[in-house]
Structure formats: structure tokens, C-alpha cells
Subunit: 240 residues, 2 copies
Amino acid sequence: MRPKIFLFGDSITQDSFAEGGWGASLANHFSRTVDVVLRGYSGYNTRWVLKVLEKVFAATQHGDGGINGAPVAITIFFGANDACLPDRYGAFQHVPLLEYKQNLHSIVSFFVQWPTTHILLITTPPIDEEARLRYPYAYNPQGLPERTNEAAGEYATACIAVAEECGVPVIDLWTKMQQCPDWRKEYLCDGLHLTQSGNRVVFEEVILKLREKGLSLEAMPVDLPLLADIDPNDPLKSFQ
Amino acid sequence: MRPKIFLFGDSITQDSFAEGGWGASLANHFSRTVDVVLRGYSGYNTRWVLKVLEKVFAATQHGDGGINGAPVAITIFFGANDACLPDRYGAFQHVPLLEYKQNLHSIVSFFVQWPTTHILLITTPPIDEEARLRYPYAYNPQGLPERTNEAAGEYATACIAVAEECGVPVIDLWTKMQQCPDWRKEYLCDGLHLTQSGNRVVFEEVILKLREKGLSLEAMPVDLPLLADIDPNDPLKSFQ
């Protein structure tokens, strides 16, 4: 049975199999070693996630026969919606910072049922507020962005704190992306979601963190003989 | 438990999660409805596949609890390697036409264990022989292509015959692609494997065939409420 990596998150996860997406890149990278399973829920915050956690992973808990169905790793990538400001048009998605921290703790704790699973937190990316004004997803009579980069940074910091408290690795996407001077255009397509370059950053950071946990192409068994390992003079020998 | 679609084939399947790949496009299309599971084995022909069929699908048969683990659909996309010529450098992958037909029959028959699964055959794409000379994958002192378009066409015809005999749908990729005058450059990157345009053709054809079997986005249940269906004034109502 092939190992699985679950990608659990909001729209930045749900969209990760679009062209150049970080999820598709992971599936391609691990094409003969790991199944990458998409569990992205566009618009979801951690408050909503807590209501559906059991349901999302019920089949994995039961259908696959318990621990055998546990993934080798799971990325948990929530916060961009929690960080919507409480007095703007995205308020219905807003979750206060302290509750976000508690919720993220609860989400990580849920996966304690899989003691062998590597949990990887990912912070919200930075926000380009001007671009958010150009790409509102609802009527915006205030003319103000529904998210700010400062608020996103606070949720990123909270996510990092939860990772430290839980002893799990974290990708600080908020900081990492802003190390590129042209991050707004290079990594974000609408001030929030990722360009292909932005997806590339997530892919490379995830690969790096997985490798640190021993989950690399070289370390994982390949599903069936590779063509390069099949003897052209006696191919069937590989299949005995 | 989310329905699954298995992609079972050779390198054209294994590579289908690369940028613009047809597998990734399927996973993106069905991001909230179906898990797309990659089972691509580069270089494999139907003779080798018969040796590993049980192993490839053992977890699906047993680990997932029998019929519950059966996919809603499976694409079977073999023939490009069988069609390697028997007197060229790819001879070790060659499978005679009659055996190819019999093998493909056996592969389709294997999935009778899943009576609700829609089986979809896909023929080998056409071959650009000049490009194959520019992109050999082994030492080629003969200076002749290891595949020809004519031979590929015979295997495509055999695949179509098997589909008819088994009463399952088939995508005639060999014919479909050659309807484009510039098919060699438009759809093939090395005379055999697919460009992003070529991947697009496969994606669209698969979507079309699945739709004919009732497997469309509109017809399939969405995993958890969509953001557009959540009441901004009372979001938690959707999660009761």
C-alpha cells in the first residue's frame, strides 16, 4: 500500500493542482512513491474546520483500517481566512487571533491519533493590500481591503508559536516570501493567492521539510521496478 | 468517503501531474468531489502489467475493505510501449499485436471485480518518427526510430477493438490528435510524450467520456459546503 501525504487547507490548498500548483508538483515529484491526497476547502477558517475534522478524516480512520490508513505526512495550511479583518466585507470568515491559536492547537492534537504521521504547519502567505482592492470577492462599498499584511503577519506568528508548542515543523511562508523584493507580483496573483512562482516556493519548502523528516525520494521505496532497473535482456526477471 | 478515479498507464500517465498534465488537470477539476489516484509506470507494456496487476490493486481490494475501495472510474492507457518495433532498440518493450490484444482483454477483465467501476480505455497517441530520432532513450546505432506511427496505429485499432468487445468506452487518441494538421509539434514534445496542449486533449476527452457515464461535476456530491453556499450571516449553520 502506497504511503499518503494529505494536503489539508483552504483555497491555497484546494487550488494546488492548477497549472504549476504546489500540490500537483508534489504528486509529480512522488509519482512512484507516495499518493498526494487533496483536502482543500476554499474559504474555510479554523473555526469551520473544527466542525468538520472528524468527517474529513473519517474514511482514513475507519475505511482504511485504522493506522494502516494514516498518512506519512499532512500539511496543515490555515490562517489566511481567519486573518480577514472583523470590520470589513470578509468579517464572516474572521476568527480572533487567540481563538485561531487554540483552534490550530486542537487541529494538530486531532492528528495525535496517527503517532507516525509527520505534521507540517504552513503560515498564511503575505498580503498585497492594493491587489486585494483590485480583486475583491464580494461587494466592497468601504473601498478598504478585507485583509492586511500586518494582520496576516500576526496569524503567521501565532501559527509558528503553535508549531513550537506542539513540537512540529512549520513553514513561515509569510516571512519567506517577503524576502523577495518583488514578492507582491512575483508570488501573488491577486494579493492573496499564489502565482506559479509562489506555488514553487511552497513546493520547495514542503520538499525540504519532508526531507528533514526522512521523507525523500531516495529514502522511500518505489512502487514496482523502475524502467532503468529492468534488464533489457530479460525484462520478466524483474517481475518474478 | 470520496470517490476515486484511478489513472493506470505508462509514462504518459506517470508524467500526467507535471505542469499542465492531464492527471493534475483532472485532480484540479474534481478538487472537491473525487480523489485522482496516480498509478503510472513508465516504460511498462501490457505483458509486464499482467505480472503486477494484483499487486498494484491489492490495497484497493483489501486495505480499503473490498467494494468500498473500488474507484468510480479507471483509465487504462497502455500500448505505446507494446508498439515498440521488435527489431529496433526498444525491442525489449515490444509485445506482439495479438498478445497485446489478449493482455488488454485480461486487464479489463481483472476489473470485473468492481462491477460499478467505469472503465475507460485510451489508445496510444500517434508517433512522430523524426522526433523519435532526435530523442532516443537508448543508444541507437541503427539510426532508425524505435516506434513508427503506422505500428502505433495498429495498436490503437486493437485497443478500440478490445473496448468494443468488452463494451467499454475508448478514447481514440491516435486518430483524434492527427485531426490537428500540426499534431507533431502541437501535441508531442519528443515524438511520443505529450506537450501541455497534448495533455489538454487527453484531459478534455476524459472529462467528456466520464460525463457520458454520469461522472460530471454537477452530478457528483461536493465534499463539505462550498463557500458560496455558506450564509455570511450565520456561517456555522452550514456545519450543524
